[in-house]
Symmetry: C2
Subunit: 454 residues, 2 copies
């Protein structure tokens, strides 16, 4: 089976190199096949790196984990790498160079210096933005024209751009003024039905529609851009600077990647896993990042145990308490996690904001309180019949109502507060939450027991 | 502040109705404003439902939770609703009627009967698919032509379709044969540079490119379609049946929604929250769905407590065990959740499959084992110095190594097995996992203690 995997990978890459493949291979597939071959046979891996055309290699490199990319920049000649980079779109060029720079800053600089002036300028434009800014995700290849131009002259320019393979996936023509300020954006499907001898201004006038596009500001948070794509069902969005000058565009495939990455990050962060470390797939990196979270969890678990330790005399005299106390903590943890997860996700999707805190908190605490009362009653009855200790049922029921209600409260307040402080509400919030629910659970249960039962 | 919210909502809707708004309101905004108004003032809510144009109302209805949609179909006259539905695109028509049908099947039928024949036929085509099939997400409005047609004749047809507002967001022309089999798909940006008097076959011949599109089969799992969009950076994908007949297309905005929904579902399922119940936003529905999960958790927590109960004599003689046992369970739960979350997500993203089980399992168990040894050693030392009981450090260390390693194992095996059985690996897996880690944790710790310490 292992060798079969290798054979398939080699066959697919061979056909890709000979261009005899029925279905096109995606960059993800290319990277995946290379990974398989590298795992089995380093010599074959080097051979395929050599045989792949520069563009395919550069595209595959975008999908590789760091340790593979490291091999690529070591094995493949510099010329071939720069050739590959030069054939990418500007946003991909910036991303790949950024990835290479994480491994070897000097190599990244060398490759960059070999690119032509236009590529270098475009990459610098994109690289200057933070990773949460819209500008970091734009490509600078755009199809634009002045309003005074005829449609024919614009189309002729498109023809040249396409022949030179300088632009792909064109859906819109951006209309700009003399100073490159964005004025309108017209879909090709709207343009194609007009007489090509008309100027773009004449077309806009005729159509009785202003073609005002949804725009992204370059320094805007990319989450807001994602939301606009979502709400207005967009396929592409022009990016402008604060003065309205057209800089580039963001396309829906970039938005797809962002949405998937954001969701993975949230899921992982809630579970105490680092998404970037996991991407590497090496046991050491993932293991280290996870150990960091487990260490935090160990510390908070020890704190909970110290709380239990305060009540060692109580436990010695009523051992039933030791048997039941994990139930109180576990139910609190689960109730809190429900509220936490819903709040984190709704914050991320922009469905709620900090200003909705009263409404959201009311809802979550109400649910937690009602469920708390239901399960407290149930567990109170179970505990009474299990241990036949008068008042034990009351103690566990009361502590569960307290713990579950507060779990709903903290499960909502923690992410809302983190968001307000500008911290990602998914990071660390579940550890903080279960610390609260464990401490409150053990303290209320054992404390009440000490007071009522002894 | 409450009234300010109401004022803003009213102002925005007023300007939308008068068409004096600077920035277009999305359907999400419309639904949000209507919700705000409904919360404060039912009379005003009814007034706005009356004043909104049918298309805006239908679009907003698509974004409404059930309880609001219920009001809409009660308050708004039937004619206006059917008018609104008729102005939607086919996939939205099918979705809205499906939502209405969930509330009142007869009303949905009534609205459906009022639509014209073409709309009815299109809706039936879409509605027959399951919600995990690609066909359920397609729209039937497409721009297609025969290869023998001239580009001009195709464009003239597009012009008419656009004037009748029958089609929006056209990026591609689909070329079909006499029997409507899909042959090629050409982007408008490719077409626009050719002479309009050429036939489409001539254009294809001239371009020296086969324009073979990535296609979705109508009965294909929609997750595979999402993956194709992702891997090949697509904006639109034609949908064909098993015989190759063109049925419709899926656009990237539908894919966005699917990606977001899928991520929300995973996050919620892992936390024991039902995504559909949460959408409703009513306390009762959400609370009930969450209570169901809490009940399962209560049962498993009671099982863990029964395990602890087996060792009541041991705990009575060494109360330190009661103090430390939550640490063993909590560290196991966290280690398992890390493995579980990573496995669930990577399965969902198609990065791993059941056949990779050996490799994935090896990786996850290795990480869990190494972390287990590190934290076992650490905790063993802490326990020894805390309680000064010889061998207690050894007992907690040994049980932590057992529990954390098995946590890594079950955290990986549970989702892989569920996936293999055709069950969503996110549903219920965390409850099953923590049941395992609690039972193993308590049993190994208290069992070892009984054996070694007593």
């Amino acid at each position: 089976m292992e060798t079969q995997e290798l054979e398939t990978a080699k066959e697919q890459l061979d056909s890709h190199i000979d261009d005899t493949l029925k279905d096109e291979l995606s960059s993800v597939d290319l990277a995946e096949h290379l990974k398989t071959i590298k795992k089995h046979d380093e010599t074959q891996f080097a051979k395929y790196l050599k045989e792949l055309d520069p563009e395919s290699l550069a595209n595959a490199a975008l999908e590789m984990p760091d340790h593979m990319l490291e091999d690529v920049i070591e094995i493949v000649p510099k010329d071939k790498i720069t050739q590959g980079i030069s054939e990418l779109e500007s946003d991909d060029q910036a991303e790949l160079l950024d990835n290479i720079s994480d491994i070897d800053e000097n190599k990244a600089k060398e490759f960059f210096e070999e690119l032509d002036e236009k590529d270098r300028a475009d990459i610098l434009k994109i690289a200057k933005y933070d990773e949460d800014e819209a500008g970091a995700y734009m490509q600078t290849e755009i199809f634009s024209a002045k309003g005074s131009e005829t449609l024919k002259s614009a189309i002729d320019r498109l023809k040249i751009l396409k022949e030179k393979e300088e632009i792909e996936n064109v859906f819109q023509l951006f209309i700009v003024d003399e100073k490159n300020h964005l004025k309108s954006a017209i879909a090709l499907s709207d343009l194609i039905i007009y007489d090509f001898s008309l100027t773009l201004n004449e077309i806009i006038e005729k159509s009785n529609y202003d073609y005002k596009p949804h725009v992204a500001i370059d320094t805007e948070n990319v989450n807001d851009v994602i939301q606009d794509f979502d709400e207005f069902d967009l396929n592409v969005m022009p990016v402008i600077d604060a003065n309205g000058v057209l800089l580039g565009r963001i396309t829906s495939d970039d938005i797809h990647d962002l949405i998937e990455d954001r969701a993975t990050e949230q899921l992982y962060n809630l579970a105490g896993v680092n998404d970037e470390a996991e991407e590497e797939e090496t046991v050491v990196k993932s293991g280290k990042a996870r150990a960091a979270w487990l260490f935090v969890n160990l510390c908070t678990a020890i704190i909970s145990s110290i709380i239990i330790g305060f009540f060692d005399k109580t436990i010695e005299s009523v051992v039933a308490l030791a048997i039941l106390m994990p139930i109180v903590a576990s139910m609190g943890g689960n109730t809190g996690t429900q509220a936490l997860t819903v709040t984190v996700r709704r914050l991320a999707l922009g469905e709620i904001e900090f200003k909705d805190k009263k409404r959201v908190l009311f809802r979550e605490v109400a649910i937690a309180l009602v469920n708390g009362m239901i399960f407290a009653t149930l567990m109170g009855i179970v505990a009474y019949f299990w241990f036949h200790i008068p008042l034990l049922g009351f103690v566990i029921a009361a502590s569960m109502i307290i713990n579950l209600t507060l779990a709903g409260f903290f499960g909502t307040v923690i992410p809302l507060t983190l968001k307000k402080l500008g911290i990602d509400p998914a990071v660390g919030s579940s550890v903080v939450l279960t610390t609260f629910t464990d401490i409150i659970g053990f303290f209320s249960f054992l404390g009440l027991a000490t007071w009522v039962l002894l």
